[in-house]
Structure formats: structure tokens, C-alpha cells
Amino acid sequence: MTIPFAFDIGTAMLLIAVGGWMMVAQGTMVAVIIFVVYGLLMAIAWVRLSAVDVALTEAAIGSGITGMLLLSAAARLRQTEVTSTLPSFPIRLLSGVLCAAITSGLAVVVLLPADVAPTLAPMAMANLPETGLGNPVAGVLFAFRALDTLLEKVVLLLALLGVWSLAPDRLWGGVPALDSYAPPNDILVFFAQVLPPFGIVFAIYMTWTGASNPGGAFQGGTVLAVMWLLVMMAGVVRAPPISCLRLRWLLVAGPVLFLMVGLAGFALAAGFLAYPAGYAKPLIVVVEIGLALSIGATLGLLAAGPPERNHQP
């Protein structure tokens, strides 16, 4: 047994233990904190599986911003937490048996793999030079499966619409309740004044380098979203009203740009979302920059929640 494999065994066992602990822990707040730890462990597992792009996404979105969202939700629900009872023992036993059966089924699939593992890696690598990109994952996201990525942006916007529409009618167009956490002169204000510029440089770097190295618009956009949430929570910058027209343009800018580039493919290249030969990389970089901005705004507003007070200009 080699040392890296021993490390992997440790990681896998920790993941299962921490995941199980998250399910049985007393108190929602504790469970959410365990969830953040779990996300970081999961990012380590992704690095061990040679998927650095996914590891970055998991750390930023899966652990970071989801953790923030769930923490603030748990803090809000804590005052009114009601003790619910677990289902009766036979039902718990039955669901335990069912879940164990599903786990064993999956384990059998894992242990009896196909003779030749299916892979699209050679095809992706063979076509990668045409795009001019150096990162095969970026190639899949923005060239080979660009339609998925475009539709995913639409899903993000739809989710935001769903969140917004949960506001009472009289608050439509109002402001998410974010900036009520910090008193003036607070240490959080200091944090929000010092950190965001570094975060912006880092987000631009992530987006820019994504074409040839691990990284990209998703991870860069998430860093932007977190910096924005930080300055809003510290009260350094006010949360915008959701009726703000500039904000709405920012939200749709990335997907619209992507769609326009895609439609231009009909005239200039082989079809929808095809890039003209030789221009693939610059077009993809432009689309990624637009998407990073829109993803940043959308993720930030998703985490901020529906408007909770009226806008006072």
C-alpha cells in the first residue's frame, strides 16, 4: 500500500463519517457547519481524482457559497425551531434497508466495471487544438457541450426569478435584507474594505486563466459573488433593489452575449454555437468574461434571498 493510497482511504472514510455525522447531528446549525467541512473534504477528493476544475468549483460553490446560504438560513430559523419527531421505528428500519440496498447496488456497479472504461477524452483532446484552448474541461464547457452551459445560465436566472417571486407583492422591486449585520466601525467593515480588491484580481485571474488552466467563469464568478456579498453584509455598499434596471442588464448580459455568439454561428460558422475557425479562443474568452460578471451577480442575489423591505431612494 502506497502513502497516497493510504491518504485516499483516510479521505474516503472521513467523507463517509462526516456525511453520516451531518445526518445525525443535533441542531441544524451544527449540521450546516459540518456541511462546510464536508465540502472542503470533497474538494480534496476531487483533487485526488485528477479533477482540479471540479475541486475548485466544489470548494467555491459547493462548500463556500452554499455554506453561507445555509448558515444564514439556519441562523434565521433558530429562534423558531420546532422539535419535529422522527418517523416510527419500522419506517426508519425500512428506509435504512432500502438505502443500504441502493448503496450495495451502486457498490456492485463500482466493483464490476466494464471491460473497457468508456471515455470521450481522446475525442476531446483531438478536437481541442481547433478551439485554441489549453484546458480540456473549458473546451467541453464552451465548445463541445456549449448548449448545456448556455441552458445552465438560463436555469440560474430562472432560479433567481423563483426566489424573487417568493417576496410578498408589496415588496416586489424591494431590497434583499442583507446589510443589517454590522455596526459601524466594526471589524467586518475593515474586512470588507481591505479584502475585495484582492478578491477581484483573483476572480479575474481565475476567469482569464480558465482557458488554459483549471479555473474559469464559474469559479471566478463565485469569487466575485462572495466579495459582493461581503461588502453588502458589512454595509459598505448598499444592496441594490431588484427593480434596478442596470442590475437586471448585468444579470442577463452573460447569457445574452453567449446566445448572440451562438446565433452568429449560423451566419459565420457551421451552426448554432459553432465558432468561426481561428476565432474560437477570443470569442470564448469574451463570453467567459461576460458570464463571470453575470454569474457573480446571479449567485450573489440567489444567496441574498428575496427582497424583504421597500427601496427608499
Binding site: 493510497f5 460553490i61 446560504l69 422522527l86 432500502l98 438505502c99 476531446a124 428575496p306
Partner: protein, 113 residues
């Protein structure tokens, strides 16, 4: 046994744990957490498929990786929507139980018309 198989077994266990929590835990926020655990188990399974498909000089097949990245983002938006629903539901329940429900509902309807 190699690392990919190991994490494959791990993902199977995580899917089972997440599903169990989703069925058994009654609190809405715990269900959301369990859903995320279940989802991450499925993503990890994809990661194992990607690792086994390592070829052409890559450490892992990029196509499942890209799918997982898309999946993580979509799972976040689903979580955000679910959390907003839970918070709104709790607010409405509190208003109803504290007897304010009728008043605030009337006000909302007034704004609506």
C-alpha cells in the same frame, strides 16, 4: 483496489446516507442538507467514471468533469430556491400561528388589486 474504486465505494455510501437523511429527517433544512449530500455522492460517482476514463494524456475524462461542474452550479440554484421557500413558509406559518396572518394577507391583497 485503486483510488478510483475506493472513491466509487465512498460515493455509493454517500448516496445511501443522503437518501436515508432525506427520508428520515423531518426538518426542511435538514432535508436540503441531505439532498446536497445525495447530490455530492452522485457527482463523486461521475468523478470516478471520469477518472476511469483517463486517456489521451489526461488524468481524467473532461466530459463528466464538465457535467459535474454544471451539476454543482444547478444544485446550488436549487438549494437557494429551496431555502427561500423554507424561509417563506416559516414566515407564513409564524404569521398564521400568531394571529397576524389575516391582517397581513388582507394588506397584500389590497396592494395586489
Amino acid at each position: 483496489m485503486n483510488s478510483a474504486t475506493l472513491f466509487g465505494l465512498c460515493s455509493a455510501a454517500l448516496v445511501g446516507l443522503g437518501l436515508f437523511g432525506l427520508i428520515v429527517r423531518p426538518e426542511p433544512l435538514r432535508k436540503i442538507l441531505a439532498f446536497n449530500l445525495l447530490g455530492s455522492g452522485v457527482f463523486l460517482f461521475f468523478g470516478v467514471v471520469a477518472r476511469r476514463g483517463a486517456a489521451a494524456g489526461l488524468g481524467a475524462d473532461p466530459v463528466p468533469q464538465a457535467l459535474v461542474i454544471t451539476g454543482i452550479v444547478v444544485s446550488f440554484s436549487a438549494t437557494a430556491l429551496a431555502v427561500a421557500l423554507v424561509l417563506r413558509l416559516r414566515k407564513l406559518t409564524d404569521e398564521v400561528t400568531s394571529g397576524l396572518g389575516a391582517a397581513s394577507k388582507a394588506q397584500e391583497d389590497g396592494d395586489h388589486s
